[in-house]
Subunit: 437 residues, 2 copies
Amino acid sequence: MEESIKTISYTRGTDIGSILRSGSRRQEENAERSSMEIVEQIREGGDEMVLSCLRKFDNFECTADRLLVNEQEYAQAEKQISPELAEAIEIAISNVRKFHQAQQVPDIEVETMPGVTCRQKSVPIEKVGLYIPGGTAPLFSTVIMLAVPAKIAGCRTIIMCSPVNKNGVIAPEVLYCAKRCGVDKVYKIGGAAAIGAMAFGTEHVEKVYKIFGPGNSYVTAAKQYVSKAVCAIDMPAGPSEVMILADESANPEFVAADFISQLEHGPESQAVLVTTSRKMAEKVAELFTEQTAELGRKGYILESAKNSKIVLVGEKNDLTTVANAYAPEHLIISTENADELAETIVNAGSIFIGNYTPESAGDYASGTNHTLPTGGWALSYSGVNLGSFTKRITLQKITREGLTSLAPAIERMASAEGLDGHRNAAAIRVKEINGNK
Amino acid sequence: MEESIKTISYTRGTDIGSILRSGSRRQEENAERSSMEIVEQIREGGDEMVLSCLRKFDNFECTADRLLVNEQEYAQAEKQISPELAEAIEIAISNVRKFHQAQQVPDIEVETMPGVTCRQKSVPIEKVGLYIPGGTAPLFSTVIMLAVPAKIAGCRTIIMCSPVNKNGVIAPEVLYCAKRCGVDKVYKIGGAAAIGAMAFGTEHVEKVYKIFGPGNSYVTAAKQYVSKAVCAIDMPAGPSEVMILADESANPEFVAADFISQLEHGPESQAVLVTTSRKMAEKVAELFTEQTAELGRKGYILESAKNSKIVLVGEKNDLTTVANAYAPEHLIISTENADELAETIVNAGSIFIGNYTPESAGDYASGTNHTLPTGGWALSYSGVNLGSFTKRITLQKITREGLTSLAPAIERMASAEGLDGHRNAAAIRVKEINGNK
């Protein structure tokens, strides 16, 4: 049998992270320039320019007052959701809600010195915007992953943009989830135009302070552009990826299925199997061909398989080393003592432990978020979580006595930094306190 | 007396945030282009290019093996710190440590359904880089604000870059604090070159995953550039600012001192006093001139005063409205019931409550962090805190029984999204479970 997935051997000391990522494509400069232009046009031209973009890029004729999805359209969408799917969506919402509700962080208060009280409290970001791509598959699960935590955080305004499909409507599953999760307003706007409209606001689209959600290279470029000057974004986005750590205890059927499920996302996805077992490597490669034959998105799978690899390692410790160097978005651990191995991982978006924990559980319904750092960004970024929708504000209150104790430190440090005005702001108060004694 | 600070009246419904910020300058495109070029040159040329930048921009001749500060240089620096300053620094470190230690967030574990266990745990970002500007005032307090939480978080590698002064050394206070706070390595590199070296690594400078710290427009542009493709950054940085909310209960001497202390940072700083009391407005404007006359950095203060304003509002509620619209980096509240007013603030970096809580307390020594969002970014960003040095990784483990319950939801949602491979990853396991029964 010809080799279906390229297999390489890991040599200790090599930069395996870079080796594995070397095949992945960079965002085109084209997308960057074009998205910047669209965003700037929308900043200037508002709704009129949004409509012009929709006409040009989505072949969608619309008027400004029809951009906002109305009650009738929601009702229409709801009718198309089967009871079975509605039930599945309820389970997903319930689990995502439970897990994100548990992420609430208590406010803290510390008296660092007598009379010097410092606090830190959480407040929701007032206005957030969610972007849900259209395209071949309507990613309604992402609506749940973004809107549920936004609602728990208490964001006052939650808006959403999504492109219409070829029938001129947003996918009914997307609208249904938006309504069900408490999104305030949904607009029929796609691509860089949507990002520009949410970042700067238009006559009909409310300006937001942070934008969340995946998208193609134009959407990603537009998000990066607005994030420089006006509006925060969730994270740098890129093609999805999975790494699977497996020893001989893994089930090769499951490993192959997880490997493949990653690749069906698109032609730039990447899957990497890292294994101590040559037998496992061979078996998975064989099953890859078998299982793929039966799947609908075979074209994407075969294309992104070119980007994917099997890495043979010498011993179990190497599994940790390779995973931490690659910093995968998703990490599946199918080994003996998988729990112990999981504790050694410091660079990953989300970890799936054991043979019965497929990545698709976390993608949809177990409760964890599926908006995760890709492309090695797991070195520094967390996935979207409740904290992504909140800010931590610090507060302090100092008493006369507290300031009297603290002022000498403030004054000496300010003087050493050459900032007399800073020193004076403490000194002038101490003088008054002493004068009042 | 001629008017020293421009006074305006607030009209409800106007976009006061934009009005107040209209005078503030934008980052020059020049800086953006030039920083990008420097960063790319360092990415290619490594140490040699770093040395060439130091020669060109800092007039500093150095060799690659002398970039790293050595023990002798630390010892030299320590000798120059007076016992009084050392004592002040200890107080600051102790308070900052206490407040940031209290920010530790517990790991969580939730069984969202029987057999479906989701966890979220904190892990430190492995490698972080701190940038400390040189210039007229050596900002050693920023070393404390960045290194102390990095150490508490458990970052494995903490490096720092700072430019040398005209004597060819880094300010002794900066080196002293770096050593005292546990920074692993300090390099004599300034400007965009430092950002490039830390983001991409060179022969002598270790690559890091996240860069923190303030800087001029070149440093800021370099940070934004590397943040697109390789290395996270703390936040978009800009000129510092303060807003003071005051009623007739405030002490105008203190208000004027706080107002001025902000302006001495540089010519682009901004201070805004918002008050219900015309008398307070007039008195502060008068004291501004008086107090400024005695200060060393008068030039900066008078320059940035042009950017600054006093806003007269009709009633107390307007104080909240104006503050939340402006989203100040620092917010001082000197009013009756200041605590209550503080609770109504949702957009601010750090809040200082009452007449005896000058901003300079938080700038140096009370315990809160002074690296805060400026330019309106407090709408969406928190200041640097312990969480800035950590990631939250999610984990999940599902039992056979758990997957049996959850699989129908996964399979239905995957099918509705057209992702058969995702469905199959659950289905193939359920089939095996049922076969084993």
